[in-house]
Symmetry: C2
Subunit: 410 residues, 2 copies
């Protein structure tokens, strides 16, 4: 059940209207509202021209109970949101002492010199509430409007998101009967394939809705229901159909899910990367605390490195080529031994756009996981993807193999 | 110079307002318009409720010379765009024979049976022009409006994009005098700092405009002018002021710019990464053809790996700690020697959130580049950033050091 509050999201910035970036901030805020039981009614992107933005804000103040504006609070000349807000609401604008103090404190905290221009970020409508930004130098603010409230947040996603949670979403009245919801995170099948496979569930279990979210190379399946028993039944059905395609529930990414099983099993990990070029290591070390189980890796881009650093037999390389089952297994073995780890992960493939042959085309990847419990090898052909995506999906695929291997053997 | 045509993009669909997807269609169309010399003035996402969509279309018909609407042309109950358009423009709606014929032909082409429901896609406003969809079953249409024209395209990206090119962008008058534009890519100074430094240029050189785009950790400075001589003068001035902060011109990212100088100098590269965890290797290998100069690297997350794989002296590690000048230099030396490369790059730091001390806080990073020409070392404190950003900025910083080192010594 949604509360009947009219909500508008306004994003500003010429990079949106020039198509340099898509409006992922707005999508993220809309998803948070939706998860909290609120419905966003309109998302508008408008340029950072004073007249345009003022007109849009004036309209929004009258049209919505809650307005959230992202962007244009920085120190540069393009940053005119506070001025437009003041014009739209007929407020005066002056330097707000507590905002100025926050800007100063922030520069001190990050140890960078503050220039006078930065204090422009403290010039806000009189009577506004200043919202502290703990992740950047531009404070936000909120004002009372004709119909309700408007919040103004900086456009940098890492600043906007925590501020949205603290100041906008957190204080909203709790929706008393929110939709019950479970998100299952999947890897290894395409979105439409998953959608097709799960289609019957909405008919079988009344009151259940499924939604899908692709964030390459992962697919999120969200099961919505209005009642616990229905939710459980539908989730069980999704699990039965998708099986091992699901690797986690909730907001857990694959590298973090791997970290959890490595930690629980007390195992250490090392990598030997050819086509992924360091990406597996990067993904593993994005997880805070990964130094507890990740010993390191060898990026063996050149064949000489595969021989010298990983002990791959030159005769095997010669006979089978670098992109082959025996070489990728020898690489995983080598990483395990050279770095003294319990598990070795390796990739060797052709990321493209060049380097493919008829026998070994672009997108061909060999993957290996080696531990005391044995050796797992897979050959995959990720054709039709670009270089970036071949790297991404290969790194995910070998992490997924390690995840399964450790789970099965504990 | 942009043609003065007011342009609005309207996207419809509850998945946009529930934040399940970001509006990448709109961003793509805006980018196409921008490249063609046109400026999009507004992007609006609205739900597929008849009353809401009708009101938005009515407004858009009066506010813009060109309106492009994406989504809601399919056969299901949610697909109400044609109906809303008809209400907004006070047109009747009937089955259009040529549209019905296109739907039938399309199903025949893909060899799937057509159900009666699919013909709903041919129920369009009378007097409209039917737009053929060669990639899907829903035809588009265009209508004349108060101020100009409105185009209605299906929301599936692979259908919308070619139709936008054929029917919307293709027939637009060619912009004869597009803005002259140069983008300079910068790393190493903050956005507001750069803007402050460049502020006088807009006064000094008439007809010149500057715009700024931050895409962490890079800042793009775009110089716009209406005349070649002004553009050259302004660009020269930006170069004089920013100096080495600029690493490239146009659509070149730092790893590609590095690749170019490595290639031109005939030098090979190896990495030794501690806090960056493989990210430098990942960035280098995102560039197609990087195998020509990148030999590989060692991710030396654990100190034992620094000793065993990179030959760092345990006594030096003991005396100075892993995050120190002598260790990071020894790591770069070790990578160079172990991987037989001309240049060694190394990072050692504390990415956080844990592991900091009073003496060595989170964000402290040591960076080194070693070649036949000598050793470069830097100590930086990237405080106030999260783990992700400490990794990103450290990887960029050492790549930048390598870029400068090679340029200075050739």
């Amino acid at each position: 059940m949604k509360l009947h509050m009219k909500i508008g999201i306004i994003s500003t910035g010429s990079e949106l209207l020039r198509g340099i970036i898509a409006d992922t901030n707005a999508a993220w805020m809309a998803a948070q509202l939706d998860a909290g039981g609120y419905q966003c009614d309109r998302i508008v992107a408008v340029s950072d021209e004073l007249e345009e933005l003022t007109a849009v804000l004036q309209w929004a103040f009258g049209a919505f109970d809650l307005v959230v504006v992202g962007g244009g609070l920085g120190p540069t000349d393009d940053d005119i949101t506070a001025q437009a807000a003041a014009q739209a609401g007929r407020w005066t604008i002056t330097r707000q002492p507590d905002a100025a103090e926050q800007v100063r404190a922030r520069f001190e905290h990050i140890g960078r010199p503050m220039v006078e221009l930065n204090l422009k970020q403290a010039d806000l409508p009189d009577g506004c509430r200043v919202l502290e930004n703990r992740h950047g130098t531009a404070p936000g603010f909120s004002v009372k409007t004709e119909r309700g409230q408007a919040f103004f947040l900086p456009g940098v996603p890492s600043e906007l998101k925590p501020m949205f949670e603290t100041y906008v979403l957190g204080p909203l009245p709790r929706v008393t009967d929110p939709t019950l919801r479970v998100e299952l995170r999947c890897f290894g099948r395409g979105e439409s394939d998953i959608q097709q496979a799960l289609k019957p569930i909405e008919q079988q279990v009344p009151g259940v809705g499924l939604s899908f979210r692709a964030s390459f190379p992962e697919i999120g399946v969200t099961v919505n229901a209005t009642d616990c028993a229905q939710l459980e039944r539908a989730v069980a059905e999704v699990r039965r159909i998708l099986g091992k395609t699901i690797f986690a529930t909730g907001a857990v990414k694959l590298p973090a899910a791997c970290g959890q099983v490595f930690t629980e099993s007390g195992l250490t990990v090392a990598t030997a990367e050819s086509c992924t070029g360091g990406l597996i290591g990067h993904l593993i070390t994005e997880v805070p605390g990964s130094s507890a189980y990740f010993r390191g890796g060898v990026i063996a881009y050149d064949n000489a490195v595969k021989i010298a650093a990983l002990g791959v037999d030159p005769a095997v390389l010669e006979a089978h080529g670098a992109v082959s089952e025996p070489v990728v297994i020898a690489m995983a073995q080598g990483a395990r031994q050279a770095l003294n780890a319990d598990i070795g992960l390796a990739t060797s493939g052709i990321a493209g756009p060049d380097g493919g042959t008829a026998e070994k085309p672009v997108g061909l990847v060999h993957l290996a996981v080696v531990s005391n419990e044995g050796v797992v090898h897979k050959q995959r052909l990720f054709s039709g993807y670009g270089r970036d995506r071949v790297k991404q999906i290969s790194a995910w695929a070998v992490l997924r193999m390690a995840f399964d291997h450790v789970k099965e053997n504990r």
